[in-house]
Amino acid sequence: MEVRGPLIRFGLLEELLNLARANSLWPMTFGLACCAIEMMATTAARFDLARFGAEVFRPSPRQCDFMIVSGTITRKIAPVVRTLYEQMASPKWVVAFGNCAISGGPFVFENQYNIIEGVDKIIPVDVYVPGCPPRPEALIEALLKLQEKLTGVRRFPVPERRW
């Protein structure tokens, strides 16, 4: 799915704005299933998403910058997810958190009648986080990736491979 950028661009100002945006991304309080528990764990004491400027979970889509789709998209919830996305003010981003949001995860079988196999069928997705459910560290990594997408610079060095 393609999203068109703004009609007028301001060069350097845009870069500055993006730097500001990247450092205070506000996610939406919207949990769907199992992955939502890991999303909550990420905001809690041990993993502390606040360190990366993204602790302000907003229940209203109009105040949010990005949406973490944390769970299975059923046929009944799909229009709701889509509406919530449309209610968000641009610029906006989406993280597909967990296998269900990526492709339907473990709930896909032949002739299934109730789930949408992947949230990218209804809204555009910026970062995919695999796992069932992904660990909280994975959500932090997703946030860093999103910040990288905005500013073009990775904020923290990529951890060294040790295997």
């Binding site: 309080t29 919207f30 949990g31 769907l32 299933a33 199992c34 939502a36 528990i37 890991e38 909550m40 764990a41 809690a44 004491a45 041990r46 229940p59 769970g71 299975t72 059923t74 046929r75 009944k76 919830i77 709701v80 919530l84 473990p106 709930f107 079988f109 032949e110 002739n111 299934q112 009648y113 109730n114 789930i115 069932c132 459910p133 660990r135």
Partner: protein, 521 residues
């Protein structure tokens, strides 16, 4: 005993009753009745104080079988009452006038199987999407007929002069997931509650029929992701029961320890989020910190943080690792200290008491008619716990002490859960000293369960989880039905919430400790 008295009454009503071996089937009495007689049967059970456990349907292609499970708090011997109808004329009298809780199960059966319940007030869509073409759980393709579709599309909420409808959910921070309630309001007060479920209906029961037992097993942990081990235990236990597998004692004890750890983790999560709903942010961080300590221990043993797949038929996947028991012991010490903090921070807090004491009073009698179980029931003064009434895993060796409170309100539900954490810690302390040596897995495990049906119940942090499996002797279940505790607990809210302030509805809904995917299955 109550069971003998009710047996006499049922025989007088013309029920073909038979005693069956509990060790193999999971229920004690198996009865058959003509469809006209089911209302009388329900009344007889009601008079003797039975609660409705579950109503389910099995499609035998040429016949549809409805199974009603009744159980008693003081005399927990399960009755399984069956009614058979022809698919060409699937009409059964509704028992929702006697047991309103059963009405919700009937509504589910109606949309999944097409059984019509005569006298049911509302048979509209509850779980399914209105675009569905055929009954999902029927064998073969059975399209929904026009007249039934009209019933399913049901009544639309109508506006009346002094009342209005308000929509709560599916994206609402205090419904914990994707629950939607239509509330008919008169000013600040709720007049009527119309729940719309199924936003997280993930076809668990259909999937079980498509996959083999082993292929389906990992998904049991995704039903209730807050206390997944109770669900895994239920599935594994049911297969062990019908195959007659003996589980080694060491495995039983490992199961007990992991189940109790999981229970504490679940209650902590509830505590944090419930208080967050009521406006207290600090306990959330405390509770999650303690929960992480449990997850560390369980992750070391099972390999995952949330959706465990650790039990196996006949035992557990891996034996205890080094230092596991010591870590549990350290955790017990840490948690006991932490509980004092919770007491100081929350239990005596004037705002918390003001928002919860006397709010959401769930009387015993209402709990019985809706089939409420778990801590919610124990806060209404009933000491019913599956760990005691039908001991499984290590609870056969020593059972827990049950925490009971009689206040029936949100505050007591909070206290019961806090008490349960304490009792679980005591139980864990006893258990880690008595883990016997030996194998952690049975040697011989049959590949397929024998033909027949089996029921198995466990006590999850939310109440009684039940599984009913009908096997045709193949490697796939013919029908698998979950009795989810959150569903039974939640439907009581439709009566409980009537006449309540909308702000109290949030406090009450939170205190019931709902997990939506488990409710929607």
């Amino acid at each position: 005993m109550v069971a003998e008295r009710v047996v006499k009454d049922l025989q007088a009503l013309g029920v073909d009753l038979e005693e069956v071996p509990y060790e193999r089937r999971g229920y004690c009495f198996d009865g058959r009745v003509q469809r006209e007689g089911i209302l009388g049967v329900a009344e007889a059970f009601d008079q003797h104080g039975y609660f409705i456990e579950d109503v389910l349907c099995v499609d035998f292609v040429n016949e549809l079988e409805l199974v009603y499970h009744f159980n008693h708090w003081e005399d927990p011997r399960r009755f399984s009452i069956r009614v058979r109808v022809k698919p060409s004329d699937p009409e059964v009298p509704s028992i929702s006038s006697v047991y309103p809780g059963a009405g919700w199960h009937e509504r589910e059966i109606h949309e999944f199987f097409g059984v019509r319940f005569k006298g049911h007030p509302n048979l509209a869509f509850l779980f399914l999407h209105p675009e569905i073409e055929a009954y999902p759980l029927r064998k073969g393709h059975v399209p929904i007929p026009e007249e039934d579709r009209k019933v399913l599309e049901g009544r639309q909420p109508e506006g009346e002069e002094e009342s209005f409808w308000i929509n709560m959910g599916p994206q609402h921070p205090s419904t914990h997931g994707v629950l939607r309630l239509l509330l008919k309001m008169r000013g600040e007060f709720i007049e009527e509650i119309e729940p719309i479920l199924g936003y997280m209906h993930r076809m668990q029961e259909k999937m079980a029929e498509v996959r083999t037992y082993i292929q389906y097993y990992p998904n049991t942990a995704r039903l209730d992701y807050v206390g997944p081990l109770a669900f895994s235990m239920c599935f594994v236990g049911a297969l062990e029961r019908c195959c007659g597998v003996e589980v080694p004692e060491r495995a039983q004890m490992i199961r007990l320890i992991t189940l109790e750890l999981n229970r504490i983790a679940s209650h902590l999560l509830w505590l944090g989020t419930y208080l967050l709903d009521l406006g207290a942010a600090t306990p959330y961080f405390f509770a999650f910190d303690d929960r992480e300590a449990i997850l560390d221990i369980l992750e070391g043993l099972t390999g995952s943080r949330l959706t465990y797949c650790y039990y196996r038929i006949g035992g557990v996947y891996e034996d205890l690792n080094d230092g596991f028991l010591q870590k549990v012991e350290e955790f017990i010490g840490r948690m006991r200290k932490r509980l004092k903090d919770y007491d100081e921070l929350v239990t005596g807090n004037a705002i918390f008491i003001g928002r919860t004491r006397g709010v959401g009073v769930l009387p015993k009698e209402m709990a019985r008619r809706f089939g409420v179980t778990g801590p919610n029931l124990r806060a209404s003064g009933v000491g019913y716990d599956v760990r005691i009434s039908e001991p499984y895993a290590g609870y056969r060796i020593f059972g827990p002490e049950i925490a009971v409170r009689g206040g029936c309100d949100c505050y007591d539900r909070y206290l019961v859960r806090l008490d349960e954490i304490r009792r679980s810690l005591d139980l864990l302390e006893k258990a880690i000293r008595r883990v016997p040596e030996g194998p952690s897995r049975a040697e011989r495990i049959p590949k397929k369960p024998p033909e027949g049906d089996v029921y198995f119940a466990t006590e999850s942090p939310r109440g009684e989880v039940g599984i009913y499996i009908v096997s045709d002797g193949s490697d796939r279940p013919y029908r698998l039905k979950w009795r989810s505790p959150s569903f039974s607990n939640f439907v009581s809210f439709t009566e409980l919430g009537r006449g309540m302030l909308i702000a109290d509805a949030v406090a009450t809904l939170g205190s019931l400790d709902l997990v939506v995917p488990e409710m929607d299955r």
